[in-house]
Structures are given as structure tokens and as C-alpha cells.
Amino acid sequence: MISIRTYKRVESLEEAWQLNQQRSNRIIGGMLWMKMGQGSVQTAIDLSGLSLDRIEEREDGWSIGCMVTLRQLELHEGLNRYTGGALREALRHIVGVQFRNLATVGGSVFGRFGFSDVCTMLLAMDSYVELYRGGVLPMADFLASKYDRDVLVRILVKKTPGKYYYQSVRNSRTDFPVLACAAALLPLEKERGESGGEYRIRLSVGARPAKAMLLEEGGKRFQSLITEEEARDFGAYAAAHIPTEGNLRASASYRTHLTGVLAMRAALKLGGKA
């Protein structure tokens, strides 16, 4: 457990940002990850007095405060209707209800953890990170960025039309994922002269065990009905293009095999016959 000298519930984001510029101070989210570390913190900066524990729906999407818990997201009706339950599926295996009542979205995204179900899912969505000083960044750019001392204020999710899928493989229930896979089936904009009705699949793979990444689709297009053969090809393409590594949970080749299977299932689930 880390040691903490003083605890400060800040009254503004500016105050949080100022305090956070000192290396010895740290923002606490749910503190679950931080707690496992060692070392001493001069001032623990608590954002829980800033009403950032809310999910707000707007016409074009949702704004999710950094202090929203994983459990709040898991139970959110609007977001789960929009994702067809995929968001809930991404979250419900993380440790336990009591854990998810504490773990925050802000800490989960800021951590950019390789194993993160949260980052894997958000990356498949049209989502953005709002930083106090750094402005709004697409999720992919944020995940690729270096750790700095900015304050993560909100996650923004746009209501882009699409269908979602999520599946993870775990060695045992509540353990970290061996591989995590999220996908979105997105209708392509009708271009002039084209008949429309075409789709692309945005595939995000995490716990490789490195950070979640998007598949470079190489221009793959699907009709509204995806055949088994197309799904199998898509799986093989994903397995060939998503790098994996081995660690104590699984070998690289097992992860690559799983990538192919989960990508195929995603295609079938999203576009196959019911």
C-alpha cells in the first residue's frame, strides 16, 4: 500500500491540475490500482467533490465523468441499449460488484493498462478523452500517448450508428483477460453513385497482452449479411495482423489463435444469420 501524507478534496479542476503538477502528488480515482503500488504520496488529490460521477446524455452522445464507477457504466440503460449489451459484457467480469462500485472510468482509461477490458471496449466505439489542459483526443490517440500530469475530466462517446460486440477469454472467472475483443459493425456512408448498404468492421483487440489496438482493415467491406466464409477470412486476417506476445497467462500463439476465433465470431454475431 502507498502511504499518503495529506488528503485533499479539491474544489475545482484548476486546483486539481495545479496540485498534480508536483511529482509527489497524485490524483486518486478508485485507488484500486494505485493501492497495489509502493511509495509515498505527499497529497492525494480527490476529484469526488466536482460532480464528475455522472453520465449525461446529449443529443449526439454521452458524457461520462471521470469519477463514474465501472458499475454505473455497466448498469447504464442508454449506453447498454446503444451497444446491445456489449458494454455490460465488457465490464461484468472485472473482479466483482464491490470492486466495480469503486473502480473509476477515469482511472481505468488514464492507466492505459494492456489488460483493460474498459479500454478495449471504448476503442471500438466512437469515443474521446477530454483532458483539462490537453483538450479532446480520440481514444486511439490517447491510448498511444505518454503519461503526463494532465487531468482526465470526461470520456465522450458519440452515437455513431452501429452494432457492437464484446467477448473476452479468461482462465478463470474474475481473473484478468487472456484476450479481449470488441467490434463494431458500421454502415458506410453512401457515396455518390453507390448503392449503399455496405459495412465495415472496426475491431479492437486488447490484453494481447499489450494495449488494445485497432485492426487496420485494409479496405474490407461487407454486405449486410456476412457469410461464414467471409467471417472465417476476417478471423484469419485479424490473426495475421494483430501482434500478440506470451506471458504467464498464455503464449503468443494461443493468443493469436484466440484473435482469429473471436474476430470470426464478432463478424458472425454482427452480420451473420440470426
Binding site: Y7, M31, K35, A44, H93, F99
Partner: protein, 159 residues
């Protein structure tokens, strides 16, 4: 720093260190049911109810619970005894160390979802580890308890 917590219905003011964990604070108040079973926020043994929601008391700063309501097993004796009898009937537990956290989270489940099915029970209690049993006895005990509670409710309605 000074905090005010409503513990099992009683308001308590207390001077604490900034990094005092809720678990340690509760034990210092005499709530011996609250135990630590791991260092990784993984076992569920330390479960208490904070503002109506089950949380891991090992992972919450006491400072953050200033002004909030906390319930532990000590405050839920009657409910816990009624429910616990059904677990005991199954001989579900061996050492019993996991029991307080398990009971707290089960009671939290019944508050949130009074009529859970088997899958919902498994999912809600997945974060409560038991090293001795295979969870099957606990599941049978819960199902029996739910049947008993329903019948009790019907009888009370009829009267």
C-alpha cells in the same frame, strides 16, 4: 484530519491519518467482522455497504467516506442470522473465514435484486472468494433462503 461517519446508524467523529483505510478504521471501532483476506482488492472478505452499495473496505480511504453511511455485519445481525442459518444448513462452509464478506454481499444482492436467478446470484457473488468450498453449497443455501423468504412474504400478506 477529522471525519464524521454514520456507522450502523450511529454518528461517529474520529481523528484519522490521511491514508487510513476504511477497513482499519472499522476494525478500530470494534467491527471485528470486517477482515482482510488479500492485498490485491480481489477476495471480497472486507465487503461493507457504503451509501447502500457493497464496496471493498480494504480499498477505500476512510477520508473519502466522510459524511457517509457505512453498514457492517454488526449492524445487520437479524438479517444475517436468518440468512446464515440456510448456509449452515447446507454445511456449505469449512473454515468459515470467507463468511462475513459473503453474507454482506449476499444481503446487498437481495436489496438490489430481491428475486435473483441462479446466473444472477453467481455473477453478483463472483467477487467473494472461498478457498475451502466449491460454492455449490452456498448456492443451494441461497436458493432455499429465497424460497423461504417468498413463502414468509405470502403468509404475512394472507394474514
Amino acid at each position: 484530519m477529522l471525519i464524521n461517519i454514520v456507522l450502523n446508524g450511529k454518528k461517529i467523529s474520529s481523528e484519522i491519518a490521511a491514508d487510513c483505510l476504511l477497513l482499519d478504521w472499522l476494525r478500530a471501532q470494534g467491527c471485528a467482522s470486517v477482515k482482510r483476506g488479500c492485498e490485491t482488492s480481489n477476495c471480497g472478505l472486507c465487503t461493507v455497504i457504503l451509501e447502500g452499495k457493497p464496496v471493498l473496505s480494504c480499498s477505500v480511504l476512510a477520508a473519502r467516506t466522510d459524511g457517509k453511511r457505512v453498514e457492517t455485519l454488526e449492524g445487520l445481525q437479524q438479517e444475517a442470522a436468518e440468512f446464515g442459518a440456510f448456509i449452515a444448513d447446507q454445511g456449505a462452509e469449512q473454515c468459515g473465514f470467507c463468511n462475513p464478506g459473503f453474507v454482506m454481499n449476499a444481503l446487498a444482492l437481495f436489496r438490489e435484486n430481491p428475486d435473483p436467478n441462479e446466473e444472477e446470484i453467481r455473477e453478483y457473488l463472483a467477487g467473494n472468494l472461498c478457498r475451502c468450498s466449491g460454492y455449490e453449497g452456498q448456492l443451494r443455501g441461497i436458493l432455499n433462503y429465497l424460497v423461504w423468504k417468498k413463502e414468509k412474504g405470502k403468509k404475512e400478506e394472507a394474514q
